[in-house]
Symmetry: none
Subunit: 84 residues, 4 copies
DNA sequence: CACGGCAAAAGCATTC
DNA sequence: GAATGCTTTTGCCGTG
């Protein structure tokens, strides 16, 4: 027979499982961040400017349309402000 | 003989390699985020409050930090301030 | 009569006003950071370890948070996980 | 006569004063952030794209030289990658 | 479905 | 120049 204690125990196991899986995913993300950091350090050692590298990557990630639209609005605002 | 064009070409290959490796890492991170999202959706379907789940996870991550900061000077300052 | 030029001019004024107000706020923030820096320098001159000071401040900022998250569901989950 | 208790008491007061001043500065910074948030919300309500607004502000904050140098390297990398 | 709030991540500055 | 913490940005989720 299933009583409240059993149900609670099952719930605790399930809860713990969810949390541990989430924490595992978090750990893997942190590993990837570490690898990325090392990669950038290597690039820097090879003479590249990591700041610009990151900008390039961000640029490629965005949809081409977003960039176009974004710059169009940007130009409009700059023009309104008398910026070159 | 190595001329500027060759050097430039090599540089381009190397540059491209760095960027593609970084983008690959980014893709893996996004995959993990997707898996995490699905995990949370599953937890929600099982009746858990994902908001609280996330807080629990954050709490467990912070707990070890509090242990780390137990220096002598810290304890002295805390005592002077009447902190537990 | 309102033509596009006038509308544009008005828009430019408004845009400029928003930006200048934002920049003013940014300047005030930087002033505060500067004051904080000086304060820490003074504390250091008085013999305090600023690193520990900052940790104390961070600790006091987190303490109220722990109280905030004391929901019933949270407590239930923590109990199920054997957390204090 | 100054004994350790008095010296300690004075130190505690001084320590507390430093920390409270720092916390006060932190509170003021948070207030400014709140005001900035409201300002941006107002701008959005007036039809401006806050994302672009922030970029404009960042642009004006940087020294003109920085922008030029940054874009030069950026163009070099983009060229090497065959980006438009 | 747009909006605002919230938590995670990235980027940045500052420290030693 | 490595590392820490802070600020800013980004994505996510619930809500009107």
């Amino acid at each position: 027979m299933t009583n409240t204690v059993d149900a609670y125990a099952v719930s605790a196991d399930e809860l713990r499982a969810f949390i541990e899986r989430a924490e595992q995913i978090g750990a893997e993300k942190r590993d990837l961040s570490e690898i990325e950091k090392e990669l950038m350090a290597e690039a820097k050692g090879r003479g590249y400017e990591t700041k610009v590298l990151r900008k390039i990557i961000a640029l490629r990630k965005r949809k081409p349309d977003d960039v176009t639209i974004g710059t169009a609005v940007m130009e409009m605002y700059k023009a309104a402000l008398g910026m070159a």
